[in-house]
Symmetry: C2
């Protein structure tokens, strides 16, 4: 067997949104802006900036408007999560032209997360996608619990693929397919992503892994073999799922970029600049940083 | 591409030797025996028990004779490391019938580790292997710095393969090929292990990875794809390399067994019993336990 791996992959930085939304203490807006700016300067091409979630639910994201007005630039695809109709109304008032929407494959997860079944969520999200595409927005569809649900267990591949098809039919540009609780094994990663790659050959398919059970990088390697060339990662491994005991965060940007560079796969990301971005946010974090690269290379460790 | 993965793999537990030799504080012999006994009861078939290294160099291993007399059993292959001629003389006085020898591919590493070049080490080790094989011993050859050396950098595959060939020529039963400082990437794992598998189709080839850069499980996955069905692991991820800054230990037995079980690959290892073994040794360790499975499943965390 010969491994046919890509020469280049795209990293989508989700730390400022998916990562920070799980941080208990409010991080000053100026610190977030410094963090994001350094990440943008590292060469990252796409990034989830912030979220128009209700400030009552997630106070950490209450400065979304300030983040957008300070951090939008032309070099990076700046994505803002809009979790509902209200978020959609708010995005229309900003210069941001890339949005993320979010639905879980698992009804149980969806109900506990946003108090709606998957089908009811889709009834709201799909018309929003159609409307946003009509206005020229880039639409990223985030599919959570695509492998496992903390309540229901294993999710059937067919259910995940069916939901992805609905997003594609509505015009979504990107599918970000997430192992939300970090339970997928490398052969589950290979299997689902092979099927998605075959089913949607002309769309962006992004793999989103958590390192909860140390399988994050193994799952990325398996997804690469399945033809995936886009990965969500989070600087410092920020994030995590509030519903899973002991869950660590997303796979760390610097660990993924390091592995890829060691495999001869280009990402365009400067690791020293990622470390400098983490140095800025670190004093404000409530949890120790688990990323291996940061531990090995930070001057402050 | 279809993944052809094995149905069953063998785990070689190296925690009691490779793991504990890096622990600063002397762990009472009775605790070690309890730890080892629980590991044996978990279903592990092969294990590095202890080492006949000089007690002056590694005081932790000064109770090797007691460990052997308490822990030898018929169900498990109990391996004792013999680092030199003195160790060989000592093993002959015990009922143990399986030994490990140890040489680094890198001269620089070998010199700093045991004050000899690789060639000089081999001049001592190879006749010892021939003598031990003549007496019916099982001989495991541990090849360190098989991918990278902390002083020299990248090791040429040809150099590692050449050393392996010398061990095989002398009659070694097993090659344990180690990424001593946890630097190998998955495609380096796949490449070297594919070549070793092809070159030595009738010998036991074991992959030994450290999780220093979070690539441990990805490297195991790549080695599985290269046809490797034997893996060195260490309960609780004990161990590490004293020559590498921030180095974490060997890949954790429980994280590897968990991933394999989730891939439908049988190991015969009972994870609950591994957790109970770790519970016994944990109060005596100088470092926090980094294994994901233990953090998620230990009742004492």
């Amino acid at each position: 067997m010969t491994l046919l791996l890509p020469k280049k992959v795209t990293i989508i930085e989700v730390g400022p949104r998916d990562g920070l939304q799980n941080e208990k203490n409010f991080i000053p807006t100026a610190v977030k802006i410094d963090f994001i700016t350094r990440l943008q300067e590292s060469g990252l091409q796409e990034m989830e900036l912030t979220s128009f979630v209700s400030p009552k639910w997630v106070p950490q994201m209450s400065d979304a408007t300030d983040i957008i007005s300070s951090c939008l630039n032309m070099k990076t695809r700046n994505i803002v999560l809009i979790p509902n109709r209200k978020g959609m109304e708010r995005i229309l008032l900003t210069p941001c032209r890339a949005v993320a929407v979010f639905v879980g494959v698992s009804d149980e997860f969806n109900k506990r997360n946003i108090n709606k079944t998957t089908a009811d969520s889709m009834k709201e999200v799909l018309p929003a996608i159609i409307a946003l595409k009509g206005k020229g927005y880039f639409v990223r569809a985030c599919i959570s619990t695509a492998f496992y649900c903390p309540y229901k267990g294993k999710i059937a591949e067919a259910d995940t693929i069916k939901l992805c098809q609905q997003f594609i039919n509505a015009g979504a540009d990107e599918l970000s397919v997430a192992d939300t609780i970090g339970m997928a094994s490398p052969n589950e990663s290979f299997s689902l992503f092979s099927k998605l790659r075959e089913r949607f050959p002309h769309h962006m398919i992004t793999a989103h892994f958590h390192d909860t059970r140390k399988m994050g990088l193994a799952n990325i390697y398996a997804a690469l073999e399945a033809g995936i060339i886009r990965f969500d990662t989070s600087a410092a491994g920020l994030g995590g799922c509030p519903f899973a005991k002991g869950a660590t965060g997303n796979v760390a940007t610097e660990d993924v970029v390091y592995m890829l560079s060691r495999m001869g796969i280009e990402t365009g990301v400067d690791l020293e600049k990622i470390v400098s971005a983490i140095d800025v946010i670190r004093p404000h974090l409530s949890r120790p940083i688990e990323s291996a690269f940061y531990r090995l290379h930070s001057s402050t460790e």
